[in-house]
Symmetry: C2
Subunit: 215 residues, 2 copies
């Protein structure tokens, strides 16, 4: 999404969130991607909030990260309650303070079955709230952008390849290790997306490493 | 509001926010009030967010807290962008995680002219968002409560007196001192509210202390 916005000529303030997620390694990857764009990058500490949002596999050490596809019922355990509204609220507050004309988020069609806060109805309700909550303080024409709302992950890989995204710097895995696990829900979908898009996948997966070691 | 909810027989989780406000002394007062109710009280650290919400007199040391009434244009400087949506989103996330059937906030009619995120339209938009963002994860009949939405501060003082609220533990002043200043917008309205309600005001104001000293 950052590359897509930069390609439109946008001036960027990139915001990442530490909410106590196992895979906080994603924050370091976000920082490195921001550097490639020479964009300002802020990491917002929401770990204090994360302690109240218990019961999710992403933030609670007692709940395991499930493997397989997002359409499985077990993937419901990866929902962090109200997470996207919270993140958007920080972004909108920062946008009001900075006089920015838009905020953007990277929700996509593959997340619709499991995550209610990734659906078109969520985007509509959120955009309405942002306008009402900040009436008189927003730049005229302020928008909440979700450029991949109706795109599959394969669509996104194709778009990203065309934009020159450094895929080797991107991160998906929920397991929290130093290498993509290759089997959790988000790794499963990452691998499929590259396959379906016909784009070479530079990601090193633990399984792939093991295979090389055992050869 | 906590006393009002306790009076209804509600089981409470009280949440306060440190967002870098000058008057963080309010957090200590909130803790003491929670203790009188034997209610769980959590202070959520949003100081990392506060750094992005620049330009408000409440969080930015370079912007002075104005004196006088809320209806003055200068009071616009006390708006913290998107603050109430952010706080509510933390509360709703905690409610989903805890299986709670409601969240409540203390917005009131006196705040409507200046603060867009205290108005009835905000409450409606927010309640809709909360349901859409957490579809399938909320307790049936989940509600966003704002019991004082259409009450004046004088109405609230009357209700609080009837509920036995320990007024000496409550805090309003925005200036950040150890004693209520008596002249900032929120002190001005606090004093008026007690006057209008005909309820004795136990608050010690700096001005009143000075007057006693000079007698």
């Amino acid at each position: 999404m950052a590359y897509w916005l930069a390609d439109q000529g946008s001036e960027l303030l990139l915001v990442s969130f530490d909410y106590g997620q196992r895979h906080r390694i994603e924050l370091d990857h976000a920082r490195r991607i921001a550097e490639t764009l020479n964009a300002r990058h802020e990491i917002v500490d929401l770990t204090s909030v994360g302690r109240l949002l218990t019961g999710s596999a992403l933030t609670d050490a007692n709940v395991p990260v499930p493997d397989g596809h997002y359409t499985d019922v077990s993937m419901r355990s990866t929902v962090v309650p109200n997470r996207n509204a919270l993140m958007l609220d920080v972004a909108v507050g920062a946008a009001v303070a900075a006089g920015a004309d838009a905020v953007a988020l990277g929700i996509h069609a593959g997340d619709h079955p499991i995550y209610p806060d990734c659906r078109p109805a969520f985007l509509d309700a959120y955009a309405r709230l942002a306008k009402v909550a900040n009436e008189g303080f927003l730049v005229a024409g302020f928008r909440v952008l979700a450029p991949f709302l109706r795109s599959s992950k394969a669509d996104i890989v194709r778009t990203a390849a065309a934009l020159g995204v450094p895929f080797e710097l991107t991160w998906s895995c929920y397991k929290g290790g130093p290498t993509h696990c290759g089997v959790c829900g988000t790794c499963t979908e990452r691998r499929e997306a590259f396959d379906l898009a016909g784009v070479p996948d530079p990601t090193i997966y633990v399984g792939a490493e093991d295979a090389e070691v055992s050869q």
